[in-house]
């Protein structure tokens, strides 16, 4: 083991001043765009310990109590890391976060947005530290399977193997409940597997966790669409409780002329296609490729960025990303003070690989020839305050066209896909289009719970996991109390 930095005369109390934030960085762009492997590097152990020393161990840790949805006990974790107590670190981490190897890779790290060091400097590299602890635990064998000591003898069906469903299954299984996870895809992971590109999280990471859960007793049934392949009645008969965690996959579309032109696709269809290719899985849909094309991504969020990176790797001629919102400021705006999540300008690794970004852009029409899209008709907007709400107002005379052979619509999701399973379960919805749930997460159907994006609308992986854990606890208390 390398010599502990804490023994080299480091002043832990002042480390947040003395030591600069250090991120591991990415593989060089010219190298990484030639493959789909993970782009982000890992910090080495010595650096992780130094970075952990920067944590001030706040008496009121905003990272833990405000930023992190899972309330990861970040200061204690950092202390363990500082002292290189990997087992204790992992045990503590795992107590709040079932899948730190996921969040360590793909979480935007809300914690860092509210880190007190970040108030006047650069936040602690909390996500990287978490990731290191998780990987170290796998390396040292600490993260091995931990099946429950005893089984309760209750069975729960979980529909949807995304982050929420996996979190539900993990939590219930560890508590001794029998869990069966159904998913219409062949392999568990949901959008983490099929939506998020490999270069952000390699699928072996997911598989490693799925294997571990399997070894702990969680059962998976892939390629099964509930409501079509198996009936709700089938589930009622065999399970004590049912958790619906099917995600919020109904996309927000762009209903403008030309939408039906070839070459205009929903982002998710595009991303799933490439992921299936990478995984060597069969795809029922024709492959969409950006090779040699001028690509325009509509929507400036994370999914859009994923499209950018994927298009670049596919060999796009150019990639342009347009967003209706204004470009975020470099520093926090007045209305966005610490400890709120900083709505500042960010560049993902994909953006750095070669992409032009445009802001305040609205799209009027897709123009095509031969049924194929060739360009977008756009205009600039201005955001004006109308009755207390900011609304985009087109700036006259700013219309322009944007050449495009492939348009990817990455404008978010509107909620769970209605009909099908939800209808068969008789789920009722609120005015936001989300299932009505009680505090425990149960829908108005007794014994049927909803968790994750399906219940909350599309959001971050960590929030889906947090909701999954909460609902799992709801299931447990319902099962132990009511029956």
């Amino acid at each position: 083991m390398s010599p502990a930095p804490q023994e080299s005369g480091m002043n832990k109390e002042r480390a947040f001043l003395d030591i600069p934030r250090q991120e591991p960085g990415y593989r060089p762009a010219e190298e990484r765009i030639r493959d789909y492997r993970a782009v982000e590097l890992l910090l080495d152990e010595q650096e992780v310990v130094r970075q952990a020393a920067r944590c001030m161990d706040c008496g009121t840790p905003f990272c833990h109590g405000y930023g992190c949805t899972l309330n990861n006990v970040i200061p204690e974790l950092n202390t363990h890391v500082y002292y290189q107590r990997w087992r204790q670190a992992f045990e503590l981490l795992e107590q709040k976060n079932p899948f730190p190897e996921f969040t360590g890779r793909i979480c935007p790290a809300l914690c860092e947005g509210s880190c007190v060091v970040g108030l006047h400097g650069e936040a602690v590299t909390i996500r990287q530290i978490e990731l290191f602890v998780a990987e170290k635990a796998f390396e040292l064998g600490i993260a091995g399977p931990r099946p429950p000591a005893a089984r309760v003898g209750r069975k729960i069906a979980i529909i949807g193997a995304g982050p929420a469903g996996l979190a539900v299954a993990h939590t219930l299984n560890r508590a001794g409940f029998d869990t069966m996870v159904f998913d219409n895809a062949h392999h568990p992971g949901g959008l983490m597997r099929y939506g998020i590109p490999d270069f952000k999280m390699e699928k072996r990471i997911i598989q490693r966790r799925v294997d571990l859960m399997h070894a702990e007793g969680v059962r998976f049934e892939g390629g099964v669409e509930v409501g079509r392949d198996i009936s709700t009645r089938y589930l009622w008969d065999r399970f004590d409780a049912i958790v619906l965690a099917g995600g919020a996959r109904a996309p927000r579309d762009l209903a403008v002329p030309g939408r039906s032109l070839q070459g205009v696709h929903l982002a998710l269809d595009y991303l799933v296609g490439q992921n299936l290719i990478n995984a060597g899985e069969k795809n029922d849909q024709p492959a969409i490729t950006a090779a040699g094309k001028n690509v325009v991504v509509v929507g400036g969020g994370d999914t859009g960025a994923d499209c950018v990176g994927t298009a670049i790797r596919q060999g796009a001629k150019s990639v342009t990303q347009v967003e209706i919102l204004p470009q975020p400021p470099r520093a926090r705006a007045d209305g966005n003070p610490w400890p709120q999540w900083p709505m500042t300008y960010r560049e993902s690794s994909s953006h750095k690989e070669g992409c032009s970004r445009k802001w305040n852009i609205t799209t009027h029409e897709f123009i095509g020839s031969d049924g194929r899209v060739t360009a977008l008709k756009c205009a600039e907007v201005e955001w004006k305050n109308a009755g207390g709400r900011l609304t985009p107002v087109e700036k006259p005379g700013t219309g322009f066209t944007l050449e495009a052979d492939l348009v990817l619509l990455a404008m978010g999701f509107t909620g769970p896909v209605k009909g099908g399973m939800l209808e068969q379960f008789g789920i009722t919805f609120d005015n936001r289009g989300l299932p009505v749930r009680d505090a425990s997460g149960m829908t108005q159907q007794v014994g049927v719970f909803a968790a994750g994006d399906m219940a909350t609308g599309a959001t971050l992986v960590i929030k889906a996991m947090a909701d999954g854990i909460r609902v799992a606890k709801g299931v447990m208390s319902w099962l132990t109390q009511s029956k």
Binding site: C58, T60, Y66, V116, H120
Partner: protein, 1502 residues
């Protein structure tokens, strides 16, 4: 007066002036009586009056039986008295009602006959009620004297019989049908008689005209003038009592009473025979602490010991290993330590049995005691010098008692005995030393080091969970204790729920709060004054205190009460037939319920009793081997239950009570266990946890297992000393069983049954809830079995831990609200804090407002006037950054409200307004125990002067600013040296008792007659009576702080466990002040975690007029509750001096103003709802508060706030401040002199005045100094511009805060606090011109001289008392000899001592220099070497400086000794020792190197 609302008479305190006069030859004379009364008159200012200015708290005198007088008056009634000494005379207070009175007389007569004596007759003592104040007159008893024939008995045998008669009469008179209130035997003796009553001194002789008769004679008179915190009339509580008069307070009273009661069943004395049962109970439960001490003294004296022997037993001096005394005397004290625990507390006691009269000081010597002996055989002893005019030429000795010393006049032999002679005689009275050496059984031995511990890792987590361990217990508490050997330190306040409101299962310990000393007695510094402290304890104490045998020394001796596993094993293996031990397991059965717990406790008590009856000498209560199905009984409950049961059975002293528990781990736990009766504790699970942490690398430093356990034990011991010292208790033996805790949230039934006598004012949980919480832990351990310990969250915010009021959410909401002025955000913030129905955190969270006729909010007084009632808390520049400190000051000044300087001085630049009209001058200037930067200039630049008695986060403790934080700027402002550590002592060394605070208030009023004087107290049970005392001391405002207030650095256990919520203290204060008719003269302020307008309204309804906020304004200024103030790494520049971090400060006065406006706005909204147009109407309207019935939290259900909401009947003007205190400044001598000082002030022309002075002239020179400071600042006038030459005995605080340009020459003598806060002036004290005694050998001035002096010089030709130059930071002093603790906490200045010093010289001295003339070569033994080096004069510079100072001394005082030294300078200079603080030396070295470097640089440049 009975308990009513929050008021409970058992918390009354008193203190006073005491004294005696005597003819050494034992000849009675009337002059003695006369002079006794004269002494009383001259101690008048030490007493007090209540709302009725003519009713004193009590005064009286004890004299020998005036046989001639009695014989003549009784003969006049036809009753001839038998020869002197063969009859008893009783002085009795009787009911005024004739029927009741006759019944009482009858009871006495019957008893007398019953005891084989006969009653000679009664005499109604003529009194003049018109001499009394109205209140006293209303309660006046009939005063009668009774004469009893000794029937052949005389002397001690007759005294003993009269004792029995008195005890029996009291019982008989109180039995039905009498039950007579108002019957009280003042004295009944064949040797002494007492005249006393509710009077002030001048009334005594008027009320008892016979005292002036020439045949009223005595050879001695003991006198006492009382100052009580309350004003309720009580004639019996006037002093002297039958054997003593006491100035001070017994802090360990509860324990002493418990132990005395425990002994009673087994008292045995051949002198009493069967009569012994007739004197029980020995202790009068209704009596005051002094009365109880008198009861104990009486028992021991009647049991055959001499009165001075008995006194030394009750109030032994310090005799630990570090204390320089001989082995025989140490043997004496150790022997008696096994018999009797000390009655501990500040005390000057004057005692007499009629044949002896004497005086003694407790081990800390915190009361003044001065005496004068004349050449013609007369002596006077009193709290002050100068109480009698005695021509100087007739004086043969002027002295002062030192800590633990005694003085005795044997009237039968006509001799005056000094301390050494008395003690040497007693030490050899029996072979005590040999008895002890031969019989003592030691447990902690030198060779028995602590062994390593092997944790049982398989079961460890389960057991930790069973006993409620959290990760914080390990990471924060145990880690610090094990690796550093200290308790962990934290910062900011306690904003988590009280135990009774917490949803997490709480250990029973958390329901208790430590009590602490404030005002009425001083806390002790357990570090700097460690040598008076003791953790030694004995197991197997004997029952009979009335006999002396070697067997009494057969005891197990423990050096401290924390047992290692080996210790316990050794005790277990003690194979001695008379030290059998017996293990009792402390568990109860599941299913858990109050019933099963009760049964288990009952069985436990029975088993304990049976074991003791079967001769077990050591009981071990253990939860170590409980079967899995049993739940551990909270160890505190088990210990207290067994302890009390054994006390009740009269068995407690027969056995030691050891606890082997997995539950106890932090210092507070240990303190509670000992405080409720445990003899020693083995915290085995804490040891195991530490061992486990070491194995897993979970300690913050690498440390061996054994060393860690040793450290842990050390930390426990240090912590225990600290907790004891907060209460002013020095020895663990008297702390044990003293129950100096208050329960918050425990039901009366539980308290009364298992821990009787403990305060618990709001009811709360019962056995059911206690059992349920224990069961919850059991379920976690055995059923839920989590993989990790729970987070805890007491000391830091955790989402799954304890709730906090300051959360990321509330902090960010408040910051944004005040930054943007967004009221909506403020409302969201306030809602979270106020909406406590689901989230109970504070007591006020449980309150609701009763419905009232609402008014439109427009009719409510405006925000602008409301904000004037707001203040920011006392936070020093030093703890806060300059930016923060000034931001708060500017904001508060703009609001016309007040910020508080805190304890740390203030930069004089801030006294001038800024160009834009803002002012950074703090409206409130604090005067705390460290007196940093308290100059005359500082004091005049204040609108309010605040005496900080205690701080919510750490009441009863001092503080320390480590050297590395004392940068140049802070050092300048604090008048100290950069880099030198600054220590604030726990007590104000000029406030040891209630009359002292009156003196300090008077001093400060003299120093700035335009400022109001406030006193900051911390809420605890009885704070109301303290506040009443403070109101009587003429404070203009009293601040009641909650326990939960913030701090820059305090031990965590203090932050959490000391003091009570302000809701309790405030209502107690309000009710007590109203009941006493004192409320109208004093304003009341409250603070402690105030955050919203609702908090303000509740405080107002409970009685506060003003409201303090500290943490919230800091949050507004950017604080994010890091709780790292103590690390100087505040990342937002609020609580740090680091220049890099200070740049980050983002607060602005506007934000703070926004905050207070928002608070006031919320207050207005509530007021409108409640129908109040003005704040004044709202104050004290506790009738509008109710308990929120909507709250159903299971543990909160048992709470009862009716006492808190109680509203005493009073005139409307009496519920809030409507008048002003009369400070009596107009009589000050300074005013008489000022008239002649015009030229000095106007033209700086030298003026020299002469005047006589007496001890009643207090604080002379201070008003003049305040005028100088006001006009000329700290620089003052040119030296000697004003010279006052005064002749006589100066009163206290002579020359306090004397400014530059003022020279005070005193021919005569001075009392305490001479030159307090000296700020540039010069003081010269020299003996009376005609004095014939050698000044170098006699005492010329009192205690605590130059306390907190910042500049100036003082020359004293004579010896002085204790704590000379304490906390001096710049003055120069020359003196001829001093008492104990000289130069304590000194940080700067020069001190020359031309004679001997007492012990503990230079304790905590971090700066300055002292030169001590060490004639005997013994000085090093007297010096505390923790922080100083002893050098010879090692440079010519030193020698020259010293010589110059001695020359000055001789020039100013004419000192013969100084002259002799100068004459022999070549030889003499080698006898000087230079006392050089190590840190100071380092800093000076550094500075001179810096200077050299600068010089070199300068030269190089040239």
């Amino acid at each position: 007066m009975n308990a009513i609302g929050m008021y409970d008479p058992q918390y009354e305190h008193d203190a006073c002036g005491v004294g005696f006069v005597a003819n050494l030859n034992g000849q009675p004379s009337h002059a003695i009586v006369h002079r006794g009364i004269e002494v009383l008159m001259n101690l008048l200012h030490r007493g007090a009056t209540g709302s009725d200015a003519l009713t004193g708290d009590g005064a009286g005198l004890l004299i020998q039986i005036p046989d001639t007088f009695f014989r003549s008056v009784m003969a006049g009634m036809g009753i001839p008295l038998p020869p002197a000494g063969t009859y008893g005379a009783g002085m009795m207070f009787m009911p005024q009602d004739p029927v009741a009175r006759t019944a009482c007389q009858k009871a006495v007569e019957t008893t007398v006959i019953h005891e084989g004596m006969n009653c000679l007759g009664w005499r109604t003592v003529p009194v003049d009620p018109s001499a009394l104040g109205e209140t006293a007159r209303r309660e006046m008893p009939a005063v009668m004297q009774c004469f009893i024939d000794g029937n052949g008995l005389s002397g001690q045998a007759l005294e003993r019989k009269l004792y029995v008669i008195r005890k029996q009469s009291e019982q008989r008179a109180s039995r039905p049908p009498n039950g007579a209130d108002g019957f009280y035997v003042v004295s009944l003796s064949c040797r002494t008689i007492i005249y006393k009553g509710m009077m002030i001194a001048p009334q005594v002789a008027k009320f008892y005209p016979e005292l002036t008769r020439p045949d009223m004679t005595s050879a001695m008179a003991v006198v006492h003038q009382r100052y009580s915190t309350n004003t309720f009339p009580s004639w019996p509580l006037a002093q002297p009592f039958r054997y003593l008069a006491h100035n001070g307070e017994i802090n360990t009273l509860r324990g002493n009473r418990n132990w005395m009661r425990a002994r009673e069943n087994n008292l045995d004395s051949p002198l009493f025979g069967d009569d012994i049962k007739k004197i029980l109970p020995v202790i009068e439960e209704q009596g005051s602490d002094s009365a109880n001490l008198d009861n104990a003294l009486e028992l021991l004296t009647q049991g055959g010991r001499s009165i001075h022997h008995a006194m030394m037993m009750l109030m032994p001096q310090a005799w630990g290993q570090k204390y320089p005394i001989g082995p025989d005397l140490r043997g004496f004290f150790e022997y008696h330590a096994g018999l009797m625990e000390p009655w501990d507390g500040p005390a000057a006691v004057v005692f007499s049995d009629g044949q002896h009269v004497g005086a003694t000081l407790d081990r800390n010597g915190l009361r003044p005691a001065r005496y004068t002996v004349t050449r013609d055989g007369f002596m006077v002893f009193a709290s002050e010098a100068g109480v009698l005019d005695i021509p100087a030429e007739n004086v043969s000795e002027k002295g002062a008692l030192r800590p633990g010393q005694m003085l005795l006049v044997d009237l039968t032999t006509g001799r005056l005995l000094h301390d050494r002679e008395i003690k040497t005689q007693l030490a050899r009275h029996q072979p005590y030393r040999r008895w002890v050496d031969e019989n003592r059984i030691d447990i902690h031995g030198f060779f028995n080091a602590v062994g390593g511990i092997q944790p049982d890792q398989k079961t460890l987590l389960t057991r930790q969970l069973l006993f409620g361990y959290t990760r914080e217990d390990c990471q924060i508490i145990l880690d610090a204790m094990a690796t550093k050997g200290v308790e962990p330190v934290g910062s900011m306040g306690a904003d988590q729920p009280l135990a009774v409101l917490s949803e997490k299962p709480q250990l029973f310990y958390w329901y208790f709060k430590q009590l602490f000393a404030q005002v009425t007695n001083p806390p002790i510094d357990p570090i700097r004054e460690e040598l008076v402290m003791s953790l030694m304890t004995f197991i197997g104490i004997s029952d009979s205190v009335l006999t002396e045998t070697p067997q009494h020394a057969r005891l197990v001796k423990l050096k401290y009460p924390i047992l290692s596993n080996e210790d316990l094993e050794r005790i277990h293996q003690l194979n001695l037939p008379d030290f059998k031990n017996h293990i009792l397991t402390i568990g109860f059965d599941r299913p858990a319920s109050g019933k099963s717990l009760e049964t288990a406790l009952e069985n436990l008590c029975q088993a304990a009793e049976a074991a003791v009856r079967a001769d077990a000498r050591i009981l071990i209560l253990s939860d170590r081997q409980l079967p899995q199905e049993q739940i551990p009984i909270p160890a505190l409950l088990a210990v207290s239950a067994v302890n009390q049961h054994l006390v009740r059975q009269g068995l407690r002293t027969r056995a030691g009570l050891l606890v082997e528990t997995g539950e106890a781990r932090e210092v507070m736990h240990m303190a509670l266990l000992v405080g409720f009766g445990a003899s020693a504790i083995n915290p085995y699970l804490a040891y195991e946890t530490i061992a486990d942490m070491i194995m897993n690398g979970e300690c913050s430093a690498k440390i061996g297992n054994t060393k860690a356990i040793e450290n842990y034990i050390k930390a426990c011991n240090k912590g225990l000393l600290k907790i004891m010292s907060k209460m002013g208790i020095s020895t663990l033996r008297s702390y044990r069983n003293a129950q100096v805790f208050e329960a918050v949230g425990v039901r009366r039934q539980v308290i009364d049954r298992y821990m009787p006598g403990t305060a618990s004012r709001i009811e709360g949980i019962g056995l059911d809830e206690i059992a349920a919480e224990a069961d919850e832990r059991w379920r976690t351990a055995h059923i839920e079995k989590p993989a990790l310990l729970p987070a805890g969250g007491q000391y830091r915010f955790r989402t799954d831990g304890e709730r906090h009021l300051w959360t990321p959410e509330t902090i960010s909401l408040l910051q944004q609200a005040t930054r943007t002025g967004d009221r909506g955000l403020y409302r969201r913030y306030a809602e979270i804090i106020n909406h406590q129905a689901e989230k109970l955190s504070t007591l006020r969270g449980l309150f609701t407002f009763k419905a009232a006729a609402a008014i439109p909010v427009e009719e409510v007084e405006p925000v602008d006037t409301i904000v004037k009632r707001f203040v920011t808390g006392a936070m020093s520049f030093g703890s806060l950054s300059r930016e923060t400190h000034e931001t708060l000051a500017i904001a508060m000044n703009r609001l016309d409200a007040r910020s508080n300087s805190g304890e740390g001085g203030e930069d004089p630049a801030r006294y001038k307004p800024l160009p834009n009209g803002d002012s950074t001058c703090s409206g409130v200037k604090q005067v705390a125990s460290g007196r940093f930067g308290v100059t005359a200039e500082y004091l005049v630049n204040a609108r309010e002067l605040q005496i900080k008695i205690a701080q919510g986060a750490k009441p009863g403790e001092g503080g320390q600013l480590p050297g590395h934080k004392v940068n140049r700027e802070i050092a300048r402002v604090r008048h100290s040296t950069p880099g030198v550590t600054l220590i604030s002592p726990p007590p104000h060394h000029d406030i040891y008792s209630i009359e002292d605070i009156a003196q300090l208030i008077y001093d400060l009023k003299n120093a700035n007659d335009e400022a109001r004087i406030s006193v900051k107290l911390v809420s605890e049970v009885g704070v109301g009576t303290v506040a009443a005392g403070v109101a009587k001391a003429r404070a203009d405002m009293i601040l009641i702080s909650g326990y939960d207030g913030g701090t820059g650095a305090s031990p965590l256990s203090s932050i959490k466990h000391a003091g009570a919520p302000w809701e309790l203290g405030l209502s107690d204060t309000q009710q007590t002040l109203v009941l006493n008719g004192l409320r109208s003269r004093v304003r009341v302020q409250a603070d402690g975690q105030m955050k919203t307008g609702r908090d303000v309204v509740i405080a107002a309804l409970l009685g506060a007029e003003e409201f303090g906020f500290a943490t919230a304004p800091l949050v507004v200024c950017g604080c994010v509750m890091m709780r790292k103030c103590h690390d100087n790494t505040c990342p937002v520049g609020v609580a740090t001096q680091d220049p890099q971090l200070r740049k980050r400060f983002s607060g602005r006065p506007e934000y703070v103003i926004n905050f207070f406006h928002m608070i006031a706005e919320e207050v207005r909204e509530h007021m409108a709802q409640l129908g109040f147009r003005t704040m004044d109407e709202m104050i004290g309207r506790s009738d509008l508060l109710d308990v929120d019935r909507a709250i159903h939290f299971w543990k909160a259900r048992g709470l009862d706030f009716s006492r808190v909401f109680h509203r005493p009947a009073a005139q409307p003007h009496e519920v809030r401040c409507t008048s002003k205190q009369d400070h009596g400044l107009e009589n000050a001598l300074d005013y008489q002199l000022l008239a002649e000082l015009g030229p000095a002030f106007e033209q700086k022309k030298p003026v020299r005045l002469k005047h006589d002075i007496r001890n009643i002239h207090r604080t002379v020179g201070t008003i003049i100094s305040s005028r100088i400071a006001r006009q000329y600042g700290h620089a003052g006038l040119p030296t000697d511009t004003i010279t006052l030459e005064l002749t006589g005995a100066a009163g206290q605080s002579f020359g306090a805060f004397a400014a530059h340009g003022l020279t005070l020459i005193l021919n005569g003598e001075a009392n305490d606090y001479l030159g307090k806060g000296l700020a540039g002036g010069r003081i010269v004290v020299r003996p009376y011109p005609k004095a014939a005694y050698d000044p170098a050998l006699n005492t010329i001035a009192g205690n605590v001289i130059l306390y907190g002096a910042t500049a100036g010089e003082i020359y004293i030709n004579g010896r002085v008392g204790e704590r000379f130059c304490i906390r001096n930071s710049g003055a120069t002093a020359v003196v001829e000899g001093i008492g104990d603790h000289g130069c304590e906490y000194m940080t700067g200045g020069r001190v020359v001592i031309l004679g001997s010093t007492g012990i503990n010289f230079a304790a905590g001295m971090s700066g300055g220099l002292a030169y001590v003339y060490d004639e005997t070569g013994m000085f090093d033994g007297q010096c505390n070497l923790e922080m100083v080096d002893l050098d010879i004069l090692n440079s010519d510079k030193d020698a020259a400086e010293l010589r110059r100072l001695i020359e000055n001394h001789v020039r100013h005082t004419g000192s013969p000794k100084g002259a002799a030294i100068l004459a022999d300078w070549e030889q003499a200079q080698d006898r000087f020792v230079k006392v050089f603080p190590m840190e100071y030396r380092r800093v000076l070295g550094q500075m001179s190197r810096d200077d050299e470097a600068t010089e070199r640089e300068a030269q190089e440049k040239e």
